[in-house]
């Protein structure tokens, strides 16, 4: 997650909502001093940036099943900072919270790791179960 990528994601909102008068290069997503002032080791990535990658992977993999009734829920555990790598794992391990299982839905565990193998975010994605083939 490069600083350039973080800034590019942040700029999307400035373009869509000019009334915010966002100043590029400021705040804890871009300015190392600002980030340190709130206890971060460096500018922090937008959680919704890597969350968007989860949705993208699901759309790529499941198409209409996901964009028509898909759900996702992710808890953010540790900050991801500029220079960190993230790896998104969908369905690599069983769903960790049974309350996320739902009848008639295919539910997959989502885990997001940093370059140290630490879990930085986790949750689940789901969609209606695929219709079974007629016998």
């Amino acid at each position: 997650m490069s600083q350039e990528a973080i800034d590019a994601f942040g700029a999307l909102l400035g373009k869509r909502a000019p009334q915010l008068k966002r100043e590029p290069g400021t705040g804890h997503h871009s300015d190392p001093e600002a980030a340190k002032s709130v206890g971060l080791r460096g500018p922090v990535a937008y959680s919704l940036h890597y969350y968007a990658h989860v949705a993208h992977l699901m759309t790529e993999r499941f198409g209409a099943r996901f964009v028509n009734g898909g759900e996702m829920a992710v808890s953010f555990i540790k900050p991801v900072c500029a220079g960190d790598d993230v790896r998104i794992a969908i369905g690599e391990r069983p769903v960790q919270r049974v309350e996320q299982l739902a009848h008639g839905r295919d539910v997959l565990q989502v885990d997001i790791y940093n370059q140290l193998g630490e879990l930085v975010a986790a949750g689940s994605v789901s969609m209606a179960s695929a219709p079974t083939a007629a016998r």
Partner: protein, 147 residues
């Protein structure tokens, strides 16, 4: 040798604070027409390809990436709550219907909770995206800290 005064880097404090925030506060509406450029810009910033959203891929028509408007909590809360430099705790999204490129959508929300945990102050916002027919297409729930 004189020491240059240091300008402290501190989170912004211009807007209403977490203490002022009322559960039940309604925010919005924001209105957009979803354009091909919005989709292209979003995919370029991730960065990812645009092919899963093209006509004929997930839907007959070109569709908006489902998380394109998730950051709308920022303009929704603009002037209602100073977001500070907090961190996101949780986000959930339900996609009830795809939003198609060319659709005009309206985003509205409501503060559903505020709480304190381990000395940090959190808020929860539910926000939804409706299409021009008034159908709820996306339901978002987000919790963030302000400090």
């Amino acid at each position: 040798m004189p020491v240059e005064p240091q300008t402290a880097v501190v989170p912004p404090t211009q807007g209403p604070s977490w203490n002022d925030l009322q559960v039940g506060l309604k925010v919005g509406p924001l209105t957009y027409s979803i354009t091909p450029d919005m989709v292209a810009d979003f995919c370029a910033a991730l960065p990812t390809g645009t092919s899963p959203y093209a006509a004929g891929a997930a839907d007959n028509a070109a569709v908006m990436p489902p998380t394109l408007l998730t950051t709308d909590y920022v303009p929704l809360l603009h002037g209602k709550l100073e977001l500070g430099w907090g961190l996101m705790a949780r986000h959930s999204l339900k996609i009830l219907h795809p939003i198609r490129v060319g659709d005009t959508v309206v985003v509205i929300g409501e503060i559903t909770d505020k709480y304190e945990r381990k000395g940090r102050h959190y808020w929860t916002l539910r926000y939804e995206v409706r299409n021009a027919d008034g159908e709820v297409c996306l339901e978002n729930l987000i919790s963030c800290s302000v400090d």
